[in-house]
Symmetry: C2
DNA sequence: ATGAAAGCGCTAACAC
DNA sequence: GTGTTAGCGCTTTCAT
């Protein structure tokens, strides 16, 4: 490799100035301190030599790496690419770079990766992995590491987070089903160790109560994870226990996909025999068979806001702690219909 | 933020040794140079103080950042998450970190991002963005930057690349259609500035010739991009120009999705009226309506191999230049069937 | 086997 | 307005 072989010293020599002066010129904030003519000389030299500042050296000196650690469970989960893209689009214009790592939801691995990132002197973190009582988050809070959570939330003072309004979104889903005429509505909840799972369940209950419907205790089944397989397993349990059910609100789209497969197994048609609503409106949810009615969350914006929030904190601004809730929106497609008469 | 406030010096002081010695202990390769007892003292001190080496400082000194730049068009394209994941899984165990950036296929932006990454002293690059006559790639080659291409290839000596066997994969697709009885097979080619588009087109022609079928010159339409929209536009042109066509081989799955939508517009049913084969077997291709028959490429392995190849080069090994072609595999689903009799 | 010292490339006091 | 100097935290000769 041919790294920035040419250093500031080289530039300074060519421009016949002191390295310090060259540094001032090449730094936007200090540029005004130097006489325009000298500045020009330095810039010419820099251009001619193809000078590229060594940001490692600068970071070592300034104690700011202009990089942030991003930890998510798995980039392969369709939820995350838009979020990550949003984060990057927030960071790049400000000269920040993302160091991306996948934790697979494994706390041990997560801890490891976090330490590695700290070793690399990231200026802050964006975490998409928070569980309800996340120890790492609590420790980060104590150590006052600049940290922003995205998608998932922890209910503790002093946390900065950007997340979808899961509870309200769940209400939108159920309202839709009720409006279609459904009364026996089941819910496949996400794991209770994630705020998303919990909040959507709460919203489900809210909505039912709001419509004066009693939640049948067979109506709610918790899936072991936000996956198709876990969703299928839970769907089987739900259908076995409560065959009267005519509509299912799934805690996310992958779970909904699991519901689809179980319906097919059982010879039930969607939406004729069973309506299904998902959550996330993940990419390609419109290409499923049938196209999935789902609660849309602005994934890209989630990332964008999280990135900006962190940047603001790093700039020394003190945005108030707390959770920013982004609005959801129900997207009605082919997986929901009125219940069968009779 | 509380970065690694505790430095090697602190550790050395507590252990009552010279910083140099502490460094030797904490470095696996030099550890044997120091007396076990002293080593133990140092490690105890490091543990007690919670020492975390500052890798920026180390990198500045050793001129190896242990980070690599990864440039892809867009993480939001379902092709890339598995590739990126593969890359990360190759890098992480060796202590390397990926700096991920999206170029949106914009050469200007790509250049910019590449410069930023160089400024951050990445040890090498993985590029998923190469076009057929990629200037940046050529320049990188001249400068002897450790570089590995992934997915897309450039046909030049000295390049290291890992890609799917597009040409052979295309043959698998067409062979399947011919075996079903199709004779009028169309192809929606990808952009000719990408090796993937070009190779798949070549494979399409190979296969037709192999079966003694003349390629009707209305049979091939080039899409402007690997997107659903571009695919739809090209599909319209193909259908208008050659209504006899009974099967379409699309250069990738997104294009196939565009074909789906045009078929729906035209009141044609898939696979009854028209068979469709895609390429990539992207995540959730099995959930499309109908489930898409597609040429599977091992995306994760693509990333894994690319990552390992780069690592090997960085380790000083000199793996032979050239392209590693990974095998594809046709996955038959519901979008292909024999042509309508008559 | 360890200490001493120099320096990676840069910025930021502090002079003048 | 610019030069001088001193490090950021680490590794690595070179001594001893």
């Amino acid at each position: 490799m041919t790294p920035s072989r040419v250093t500031l010293r080289d530039v300074a020599e060519v421009a016949r100035v002191n390295p310090g002066t060259a540094s001032r010129v090449l730094n936007p904030e200090t540029r005004h301190l130097v006489k325009p003519e000298t500045a020009r000389r330095v810039e010419k030299a820099a251009g001619k030599l193809g000078y590229q500042p060594n940001r490692l050296a600068r970071s070592l000196r300034t104690r700011r790496s202009h990089s942030v650690g991003v930890v998510i469970p798995d980039i392969t989960n369709p939820l995350f690419p838009p979020i990550v893209r949003g984060i990057e689009d927030a960071l790049a214009p400000m000269g920040y770079t993302a160091l991306l790592t996948n934790s697979d939801g494994d706390p041990v691995r997560e801890r490891e990766r976090l330490e590695v990132l700290r070793g690399r002197q990231v200026d802050g973190f964006i975490l998409g992995t928070a569980t309800v009582d996340d120890e790492l988050v609590m420790r980060a809070l104590e150590e006052e590491l600049p940290l922003v959570l995205v998608n998932r939330v922890v209910d503790v003072d002093g946390i900065h987070a950007v997340a979808p309004d899961d509870r309200r979104g769940a209400r939108q889903a159920v309202d839709h089903l009720v409006a279609l005429g459904h009364r026996n509505i089941g819910h496949i909840a996400g794991p209770h160790n994630a705020s998303t799972g919990l909040q959507r369940l709460a919203g489900f209950r809210d909505a039912l109560a709001g419509h004066g419907l009693a939640a049948d205790d067979r109506a709610i089944v918790e899936a072991a994870g936000f996956t198709k397989e876990a969703g299928a397993e839970a769907a089987r349990k739900l259908l076995d226990g409560w065959p009267q059910c005519t509509a299912i609100f799934a805690s996310n789209d992958l779970i909904a996909l699991g519901v689809y497969s179980v319906l097919a197994e059982a010879g039930l048609r969607c939406p004729d025999d069973m309506s299904v609503v998902g959550f996330n409106d993940m990419p390609f949810a419109d290409t499923f068979a049938p196209p999935l009615t789902s609660v849309h969350i602005p994934l890209y914006e989630l990332g964008l806001h999280a990135g900006r929030r962190l940047l603001e904190r790093l700039r020394g601004g003190s945005p108030p702690a707390g959770t920013t809730l982004l609005e959801t929106r129900l997207v009605v497609r082919g997986s929901t219909a009125p219940p069968r008469p009779g």
